[in-house]
């Protein structure tokens, strides 16, 4: 539902939110060994035929990781991009396992906090204005065909 001309985003506010928890988040991103062991613990990963985009570390690296990296040149399109990753691919159930004990849910929550501060937030398939075609795809994995 983005408006035609791309609204600018309040970079200062984003910086505040990110810097507030910079220590812990940067350390976690830094120490992640990219070992891929968090995958199996994510219900959506398994429910989407182990598609790498549903792996917790993938979601974190491509949302919060990029937010910290591109903190200078952020724009609304980028936030729209990661919106899919941290809302559609993740329900923040908080069960991701990391052998090193990295707190993955708090990282996804921070990325969501940043988006939400700019008015961008996940649209549930069931709320008004949700693209209908979004919905059948989410049910395909459990064998519910279109007509049912």
């Amino acid at each position: 539902m983005t408006t035609p001309e791309v609204k600018s985003i309040d970079k200062e506010k984003i910086k505040d939110i990110l810097n507030d928890k910079k220590g812990k988040m940067k350390l976690s991103l830094f120490v992640c060994a990219h070992c891929g062991l968090c995958a199996e613990s994510c219900p959506l990963y398994r429910a989407h035929d182990r598609n790498p985009e549903y792996m917790p570390s993938y979601k974190v690296i491509n949302s919060l990781g990029k937010l910290y990296k591109k903190i200078k040149k952020l724009d609304r399109n980028f936030l729209e991009e990661i919106k899919e990753l941290i809302w559609k691919n993740c329900v923040l159930c908080g069960r991701c396992y990391c052998p090193l004990g990295i707190d993955i849910p708090s990282m996804i929550a921070l990325a969501r906090g940043v988006c939400r501060s700019q008015g961008i937030s996940g649209v549930y398939p069931h709320s008004l204005g949700a693209p209908e075609e979004d919905f059948p795809e989410a049910l395909s994995h459990i064998g519910v065909s279109e007509k049912e």
Binding site: Y124, H126, S127
Partner: protein, 223 residues
């Protein structure tokens, strides 16, 4: 999902009229899914409050902040930075969220903006129906997946009572009789004997405030 419904605007206005600066805390969990307390509803309520109070010439300002879930302290912690600037909170989370928010900020009055109604299902956009009253002792396995405690108006365990006509409850013709449906479904599944024997009086579990500490974590919290 927990289903809630926004309180009437007048009732909310009446609660917060004496507080010049209010923070409206939204919840992106259940109340967002049932279109009662998500970020969009927070913005809608804020606009209504601001314009209505301006019309009444009352100095009032409400800001919005939607946290991930109000039932987890780590997400309520996000409010610590800004909580001090407000005289009161409005919370659009479910009853549990409102109380957890109040626990975290005991000196700031917290007002509920939604009425938590039931544990239910999304029949369609904006249409929600109760399915579970969390009685703590589930018998759905016996009644073919239809809950006698919730779906039967009298909560009978050896139903149906004398009241149902052509499948709907005596209370309201739009409400299907749970026990008629239980009968049909069990008959289809060939498990009718489940409701042929007498169901004994129940030990009601949800009589005091519920608390669950899972076995593997008991040693962390019970000395």
């Amino acid at each position: 999902m927990i289903i809630a419904k926004v309180k009437p605007l007048e009732e909310i206005k009446d609660m917060v009229k004496d507080y010049p600066k209010v923070l409206n805390v939204g919840c992106a969990g259940c109340t967002a899914v049932c279109l009662a307390g998500g970020q969009k509803e927070v913005d809608t309520l804020n606009t209504q409050l601001n314009s209505s109070f301006k019309a009444d010439k009352v100095s009032f300002q409400v800001d919005g902040f939607t946290v991930e879930r109000q039932c987890e302290m780590q997400f309520l912690a996000e409010l610590d930075k800004i909580a001090g600037q407000y005289n009161a909170f409005l919370s659009m989370g479910c009853g549990a969220g409102v109380q957890f928010l109040a626990e975290r900020f005991p000196r700031i009055p917290v007002f509920p903006a939604v009425n938590t109604s039931f544990v239910g299902v999304n029949k369609d956009i904006g249409w929600y129906e109760e399915r579970c009253s969390s009685c703590g002792d589930c018998v759905l396995g016996i009644t073919g997946g239809i809950c006698p405690v919730t779906m039967c108006a009298k909560g009978l365990f050896n139903g149906p009572c004398g009241g149902p006509e052509d499948g709907h409850c005596e209370v309201d013709k739009d409400i299907p009789c749970a026990w008629v449906n239980i009968y049909e479904r069990l008959k289809e599944q060939g498990r009718l004997e489940n409701i042929l024997k007498i169901f004994p009086a129940r030990d009601w579990q949800n009589q005091i405030q519920g608390k669950i500490i899972l076995e593997p974590y008991k040693k962390r919290y019970i000395k």
